[in-house]
């Protein structure tokens, strides 16, 4: 079973590390970046299977990153899950994202997402 690659874009280091911890524990290969600029840089070289994207980010907003990802055909296989505390923005994001998780995200939701990959994205 090949390892799935997950990119976590979250400016809060503590939360980012928890997300990473949960995904790691489920067998995903996880990378955490703290802002949009770094996320775009990272995405230039890699094609992650899952992108967990916070919308409230420094430098470049999550929505801009989402637009970039959707505009990039190389990244079309990536599953984008948006995480936000902002109900208004989540509505906007839901048009483009595959999945929208509203903060607080429960451990179950994270585990189910990881499970979904591990069970072959069916």
């Amino acid at each position: 079973m090949a390892e799935y690659q997950a990119l976590i874009v979250e400016d809060d280091a503590a939360l980012g590390s928890i997300f990473a911890e949960v995904f790691d524990s489920c067998g995903l290969q996880t990378t955490v970046v703290k802002d949009g600029r770094l996320a775009l840089t990272w995405l230039e070289d890699a094609v992650p299977d899952l992108i967990l994207l916070d919308l409230h980010l420094p430098h470049i907003s999550g929505l801009e990153i989402l637009d970039n990802i959707r505009a990039n055909s190389r990244l079309k296989t990536a599953v984008v899950a948006v995480v936000t505390a902002d109900a208004m923005r989540s509505r906007e994001a839901s048009k483009k994202a595959d999945l929208v998780l509203t903060k607080p995200v429960s451990l179950n939701q994270l585990l189910q997402l990881a499970e979904w990959f591990n069970e072959g994205r069916d």
Partner: protein, 639 residues
């Protein structure tokens, strides 16, 4: 046309017609009467002449009788004694008797003796005509013993009057010895005598007299064909003529008698008629003049006077001018009534003017009052405008403050979520023993942390929602959704808390296809539902919480949340939907915390979605039901 002229025309016309009528009537009656009278007179005159001639013959007949019944004559015829002639038949004898001739005829009709005398010279003359001409025409009738025959005859010497008798003795005894014929010429002088005696103008014409006047011939012809008739015909303007035919004994016409009568009667009639008509015309004219004068004096001039007065009043507009008509009749009544009417009008006019003045004064007063009121109103309006401006400014400030508050709350909410998420995630992970085994006591503590974190999050969410709703920032974002999915999602989030309290959390969605897809604001519905479920779990210590999706009627869909909690006191029912409502001891005791904003948000959001929230409660539990119409802008209907 003035009344005067009309009256004149009418009266004149009537009189003219009357005169014409009378003229023709009189002409027919009067003149015809005169004509009849005239004809009668002419006829009488003619008869008179005829009678005079008859009388002449009668006279002549008596003379003849004297001579014929005389012995001397009787015997003379027998013996032709010359002495008889010498003694009795002198010229003077015949002339004194106005006789022109004497003829003696014997029984054989032979003329024994004939003697002719000129009455002017009283001398015997030669025969004026042949005696044989008249002897055969004077033959007596056999029945007449005296042989009395008289006739007017035509001879070669002119017309004659002749009578004949038998010759008898002086005792008038026979036998008859012959006849004696006496007579005279009906010459011009004799006719003249007759004319003078009868005081009439008569002429004798031959029976075939050609009448010189046009149109007279038929009359003469009529007389000629009927010997007994007398015809009358006017010859000219002055004379009317009567005609009669005189015949001999064997009915041969001898003479045509014409008797002229002056037309005095007719002319008198004509004159009378003319005077009559003239007097009629004069009287009529007088009548017209008098009538007009009287009418003018009694009516027209007074009417004119009245008209003049009224016209003066009309022209000057002065209603007080006097109107006076002399006398006591309809006209003066009219004048009086007109005067009274005018005085009433004047009074009315004055009243009207007074009223107008009063009205004007009132209008002026009202206008002034209105102007003052307007000014006051203007001041008030400007004050109000100022107040409104201030109010608007205050409102803007308040809105700004509210928006600011909402913004701050939103920021707080956002910023609080991340650390809260960290807390809850860490606690969950620890509970799952990701970091090694936990003791039951630690597990309890971790669960408390989780519950508190959840409640804190819930509180923050409600605070934010309340604030947004108040700022009217909440807008509906309608979309299609599945009721089952929404309910399951909300229930999934709260299930851990229910499980921790050992409460059963049931979901019963009606299988009706109307509920498969609904149209509405999903996040709103989620907030409503999560608040209701949270509340139900919060206030229920034992038993279960049941979420139902169903159709209360054909126009609505509904969700109800039923718990087996202690219920809500009747007194609290009215206020549970108010924000920051604090429950009384019975609830706080059980739940341990205030209800806060939950039900307030439920109510506001339900109303926002044009729905309705109801609650039923008793000691064995409460049921909150939210229902929404299918087809509204807020929620829309199922597909």
């Amino acid at each position: 046309m003035t009344l005067r002229r009309k009256t004149f025309v009418i009266i004149t016309t009537i009189l003219l017609l009357l005169v014409l009528f009378l003229y023709f009537l009189s002409r027919i009656i009067l003149l015809n009467s005169y004509l009849q009278l005239e004809e009668n007179i002419a006829r009488n005159n003619t008869s008179r002449v005829l009678n005079a001639l008859a009388r002449e013959l009668e006279q002549l007949s008596r003379t003849t009788a004297d001579w014929a019944y005389w012995d001397d004559t009787y015997y003379f015829v027998q013996d032709r004694n010359e002495a008889y002639i010498a003694a009795n038949l002198t010229d003077g004898t015949l002339a004194s008797l106005h006789l022109n001739f004497l003829i003696l005829v014997d029984n054989d009709g032979e003329v024994v003796l004939s003697k002719f005398v000129d009455l002017e010279t009283e001398m015997e003359t030669g025969p004026m005509f042949n005696p044989e001409e008249i002897v055969p025409l004077l033959v007596p009738d056999f029945t007449d013993l005296k042989g009395d025959v008289r006739s007017i005859l035509q001879t070669s010497g002119g017309p004659v009057l002749a009578t004949s008798r038998y010759l008898l003795t002086s005792l008038a005894e026979g036998p008859v010895q012959g006849r004696l014929i006496l007579g005279y010429m009906l010459d011009d002088s004799k006719v003249e005598d007759l004319s003078q005696t009868l005081n009439t103008s008569l002429r004798l014409h031959p029976p075939t007299f050609p009448v010189p006047v046009d149109g007279l011939q038929p009359v003469v012809t009529a007389v000629q064909t009927n010997p007994a008739a007398i015809a009358v015909y006017p010859i000219d303007r002055n004379t009317v003529a009567g005609y009669a035919l005189i015949s001999n004994l064997i009915n041969q016409p001898v003479l045509l008698l014409e008797v002229d009568t002056p037309r005095e009667v007719y002319q008198q009639g004509l004159a009378t008629f003319t005077y009559y008509i003239l007097s009629l015309v004069i009287v009529g004219a007088l009548f017209i003049v008098v009538t007009l004068l009287l009418l003018d004096r009694i009516v027209l001039s007074r009417l004119n006077q009245l008209s003049q007065r009224v016209d003066d009043i009309r022209r000057t507009g002065d209603l007080t001018l006097p109107i006076q008509v002399d006398g006591e009749d309809e006209l003066s009544t009219l004048a009086r009534e007109t005067r009274e009417m005018l005085s009433e009008i004047a009074a009315f006019k004055e009243a009207l003017e007074n009223s107008n003045l009063e009205l004007e004064a009132r209008v002026r007063q009202r206008t002034e009052e209105l102007l003052a009121a307007n000014e006051a109103l203007r001041v008030e309006v400007s004050q109000r405008e100022r107040a409104q401006e201030q109010l608007a400014a205050a409102r803007d400030q308040a809105l700004e403050a509210l928006n600011l508050k909402t913004q701050i709350l939103a920021n707080i909410s956002h910023d609080a979520r991340t650390p809260l998420n960290i807390v809850s995630l860490r606690a969950e992970m620890m509970l799952r023993e990701s970091y090694g085994q936990v003791t039951p006591k630690q597990k309890d503590a971790l669960e408390t942390i989780l519950l508190s974190a959840h409640e804190l999050l819930h509180f923050i969410n409600n605070l934010l929602q309340e604030s947004q709703t108040r700022a009217n920032a909440a807008r509906l974002h309608n979309a299609l959704f599945s009721l089952n999915e929404v309910v399951q999602e909300v229930v999934a989030l709260t299930r851990p808390i229910a499980e921790r309290k050992n409460l059963k959390l049931n979901v019963e969605i009606s299988p009706d296809s109307s509920l498969t897809y609904l149209h509405g604001d999903v996040s709103c519905l989620k907030r409503i539902l999560s608040n209701l479920v949270d509340n139900a779990i919060k206030f229920t210590e034992y038993g279960e919480v049941t979420v139902r999706g169903f159709l209360p009627d054909s126009d609505h869909w509904a969700i109800s949340v039923t718990d087996t909690g202690p219920g809500i006191a009747e007194a609290d029912m009215a206020s549970i939907f108010e924000a920051f409502w604090q429950a009384d001891g019975s609830i706080t005791r059980t739940a341990g915390r205030g209800v806060g904003l939950g039900l307030s948000i439920v109510k506001q959001m339900t109303l926002l979605m044009e729905g309705k929230v109801t609650v039923q409660s008793n000691s064995s539990g409460s049921t909150f039901t939210v229902s929404f119409p299918f087809r509204t802008a807020g929620s829309g209907g199922g597909v």
